[in-house]
Symmetry: D2
Subunit: 381 residues, 4 copies
């Protein structure tokens, strides 16, 4: 919750509530959808391995400044993250002191569920949605026994099975408590078989994974046009530099592999052929801070076998792109629950790099197809 995305989302909502920020930058700001929570009625809170209050975290991330904290974002100073579940096995470069003092998986789940219940009661909320905004975990061992069925997973909880990651514990706790769950990180969570099954069985909405913010967003925007204009992609080189804790987490090769996996899948699917020279790199580079810079070089072959190049340079702010998506994911998951629609919310694919599908089928990656699908579901266009 003290991460840059969570802090930015919380700050944004508080500033909207106080009137010091508009709805600009929120993708669904102008939609009138019956049953979807108003922005002013959304409340953020959550867990973090760092115990800093969100005002302090906001200053550290540099997304909002003193002025914003004074004008409208002051509630952040009173928001102290709840103790979190961490694991340096799953996320090597990220650790902190604000940990759940609990002896194992079951205790962690109980603590998470207690936090949710207390938050709902204190704030008198209609419903609680859980979002994973934590750092990227390494790839999970999907062949592990504990990840084959709901029963196996629950037995795994009983014996503190090391195949169960922190992200899975949160997802299980949410789904088991009937709270919709959205996965903004690339980590395996509600998409693992037992949890996807559980969400379906309990009719709890889940959606994921890995927020589609910068470079991958542009990839799913440009690739469809290259396909439609019959410009063949010979290679696509993507590199990124960023200096926030997300970058630090990805400086661990295991977390990076997990992240690159979700980033890589989109291209071949849109183009309809395999691009062998598709390279994606992410580097931890401190001068950039929370800003993120992405370079893309696309090699194209056009008519008569002629070669061309398209290059992109995106100087963006990671959490400023991500926070509005996190807010909309929460609102859409709440809407799904209000409508009684549980299980995987495929129509929310536009928010994710690696959209979760029912049964694990190939998702739609084309940004404009995704927009049409979402619009149809929202029902307002």
């Amino acid at each position: 919750m003290g991460g840059a995305v969570a802090t930015t989302a919380a700050a944004g909502i508080e500033m909207i509530r106080s009137g010091s920020n508009t709805l600009a930058g929120l993708p669904l700001a102008d939609r009138q959808v019956s049953g979807m929570a108003a922005y002013r009625d959304v409340y953020f809170d959550g867990w973090d391995l760092s115990g800093d209050d969100l005002g302090t975290a906001a200053m550290r991330h540099g997304v909002i400044g003193e002025k914003e904290l004074t004008n409208g974002a002051s509630p952040l100073n009173d928001m102290k993250p709840w103790p979190a579940v961490g694991s340096t096995d799953f996320c090597a470069n990220i650790d902190g002191a604000n940990k759940i003092a609990a002896p194992g998986h079951r205790a962690a789940v109980e603590r998470i569920q207690a936090d949710l219940q207390r938050f709902k009661a204190d704030r008198q909320l209609d419903r609680v949605v859980v979002l994973n905004l934590a750092s990227t975990e390494r790839k999970a061992d999907l062949a592990a026994d504990a990840l084959q069925s709901v029963d196996a997973f629950e037995r795994g909880l009983d014996r503190d099975d090391p195949a169960i990651s922190p992200a899975m514990l949160y997802a299980y706790a949410a789904i088991d408590a009937g709270a919709p769950y959205g996965n903004f990180a690339p980590s395996v969570a509600a998409d693992v078989k037992p949890l996807a099954d559980l969400a379906r069985d309990r009719n709890v909405p889940v959606a994921g994974k890995d927020g589609k913010t910068g470079q991958t967003l542009m990839k799913t925007v440009i690739a469809p046009a290259l396909r439609d204009r019959a410009l063949h992609v010979d290679g696509w080189f993507s590199t990124n530099i960023l200096g926030n804790s997300d970058g630090l987490a990805l400086d661990d090769p295991k977390s990076l592999a997990s992240k690159v996996g979700t980033k890589k899948s989109v291209l071949d699917s849109i183009l309809g052929y395999h691009v062998e020279d598709h390279i994606i790199m992410i580097h931890y580079y401190r001068p950039r801070g929370d800003d993120k810079e992405a370079w893309d070089n696309i090699d194209l072959t056009g008519f008569l076998g002629q070669k061309m190049q398209l290059k992109l340079n995106f100087l963006c702010k990671d959490s400023v792109l991500a926070a509005p998506l996190a807010i909309e994911i929460a609102r859409c998951l709440g809407l799904a629950q209000a409508r009684g629609e549980g299980g995987v919310q495929e129509q929310m694919g536009i928010f994710f790099k690696s959209p979760q599908t029912t049964g694990g089928g190939e998702p739609v990656h084309d940004f404009f197809e995704q927009q049409i699908i979402l619009d149809r579901w929202l029902g307002d266009k």
Copy 2:
């Protein structure tokens, strides 16, 4: 016809016919549409102020080389452009010796129509389509008397009215002869009131204008995504360098103004608001030759008023992007005529920077909406 786009289109078709080139790079190559001409059944020929045969022109433009001319493109050596109508009043930097020896507008129209008839007969073609692939003319004086109605236009022809440009003469000749007309240039032609009316009255298909190839293509691809993600465009700076005769033509400020006009219209329409700092520049820069380089810088404001920048650098080949579109425009116009559909072909808007609409209404510019509209018309998806 000896321009880079025309030469490339003709070369491509000849190489396809001879088997030395595939259909790669042609946007509609994999569509099976009943009534649309096969690529091998398309024949190119036409007018040019330069009398060079197309083999010579191809070598000069540098798009195809000696090897291609030997392997499959040799028919180009026998294609000598027909004498053309030129006007240094309308296009200051472009002139040539291969001119129609005709004393006025009426004689020019007759000569154009005679050329069409002879071409159709010689090649035993089902139909002839006229495409404007000539250099950009300066803006026309739309308030001129001759441009107010079909009758006024025809009286203007009689008295060699200077408001009638070469591009209009070709468009009139085509429509009057029942030949579909496509305008790949930004020049005013079939979109002027008398000619649009004539096309409607005679049920002749027309489409235009200004082929959407490089920078504007990307603009209509990226702007919809920025809108959908609620990233506000504060400014969009676009600059281009190119060294071919198109670049030379645009080095004349009057032709440039005409070109920039069609390039500028797309942005506000897609975004739904006016971008005041939208700058478009085109520079004649010889080291680039027929290659074209476009830079775009987009200034964005996201959530919480945070600023970001997206930059594009497109190293493209103008005629390689344009030629396949010219071929598809010809095939689509032929299809429309085969289906008995005359007047403005709005569903062909995806091929143009400034799509002509019936009655001059606001066109759709969003690339992906355009693709859906075209697909629906083609009927194969």
Copy 3:
């Protein structure tokens, strides 16, 4: 004086004096040269057509913020520019209310000299240096009678000759008063024959013109290496966007022509041959504010006639690059006077796009040669 460069220089010196800023960013910070003023002993003040105090101006330019104004830059709030000489004939887009209420050239000169004397006395300064940090004027008419000799110039002053620009009035006033004069703008001033002669005759140090800050700096850094590696420059395309009042001034084609002139001269001189396709553009683009963005594309031919491209994208802050140079120019001019060295200070060429030379000969533009020349003069290396 309320311009972005002047404000930044004044703010920087005040913050150094107060201890809230270090000497980082000042090119000569680590040189120990006997006779050169210490940074803390430098005081800024001056004329501006805008009457805003410098604190207000600093906030408007956005270079320093409230925090800096509180910590160390507070003296800016008390600095109100003196009424200035302006001319919309010479600088079409820039005007203001804070004008000298004087009926002509002679009165203006007297007022300027009185300001200098008062400033020197009030601050108890050893010497006063005049810097031209004003907006770019249009090209002067160098053939005008008044610009042929000192006598002619002085007669021109008497009759308010329109060939004499505001920049020339300031330069004359300074030299005539024995104050060293540095020209940071591209405008013609001390480089016009009568003023260069006067500076020589009176032994007053002068240097100019047009501060070498961003794109031109990089040009004089990279071109020497291309020459030394025998990479032939086929073309160099340079474009700029900036949104401050400097950009607005250059939005006037006459001022732009003046600016581009000084920017263009450097390339051929360094390379030793003429680059015909050398294009320089500057655009007023408000989203960039005081930040400036420069793109350069360089087309190269290497061994065996092979083509290559080098592209630069400089996201810089105009006044942050310029202010330290302005400060160093003032210190060097003061040093020259302390050493008794009057006339054109050729060894200061490194600070300027278009270095003024004695007798108007071809200046050295190669950055590294310039550095050696300056170092030799400073005598500390």
Copy 4:
């Protein structure tokens, strides 16, 4: 010798000899230095693991085409590389069939020396220079016994010590035979202690290592200017894509580490402080072929702590930049020998990323200082 650089250098010299190419692109083309071989008097030949003749290799690398092979470069068709020493231990991704059929280090050295003698006699040359243009080897184990002294090295040759790499065998064979040796690769060779000592003792000129061609060249050009303008480098991110066999060799992490090592050293040395965020990446990316593309992003802090960014994008041709340097290195080494100057030729540092110095001291990296040093030695300026 069949590598892209060697082939390009050989092709260039043959085309100069035949008159089909000029001296353009050769850095020292306009210098008249007594004792330096004329370009027309230089002959190339050598070893390669691929047995293809150089005509075939040239076509494969795509640097010169059929036309050049017919016009002037036809001698390449008759140049078949001599069998080479290879080691997949030292260069994992590069192997070939054209290997020396020799049972160990001593036999390899004898074979190399016999090749040199035969080449000199056949061509009736004044002297033979050996250049290492082979693929990058992994880092050598500099602490190995065999690399501590000439004696130890020679005992290592006797027992086929695995610490002695192919590059060292060539360097030893050259120096031992009195032939000047230049190291264009990053591999350890004449810079290892025993070989540097041997070169000094025998008075044989040696120079290296790692040709300074593209990205590092620009780094040593720009960094001095940033230092002189007091723009602090907060970080420098450099990434490269290339698709030739050099890129394939560097796809092996061990060879990459060796390469990045020589590329990294230049920055801190020029700036005078340590840049912690200095990242260098090289990726094997086949669509680029022999062309190489380098991106650099430099984060700067200027006056008043203000941040700026400078970005470079160099679309270059690796072997076109390298071949002229290889030719000049050979000519300079020959000149040194003609002048009787043996040992490390420090004045040749401008040609190398990691200039070898006598005694291993810190080399000069600043491109402009290097040029002055070379000019002084050449004595013609």
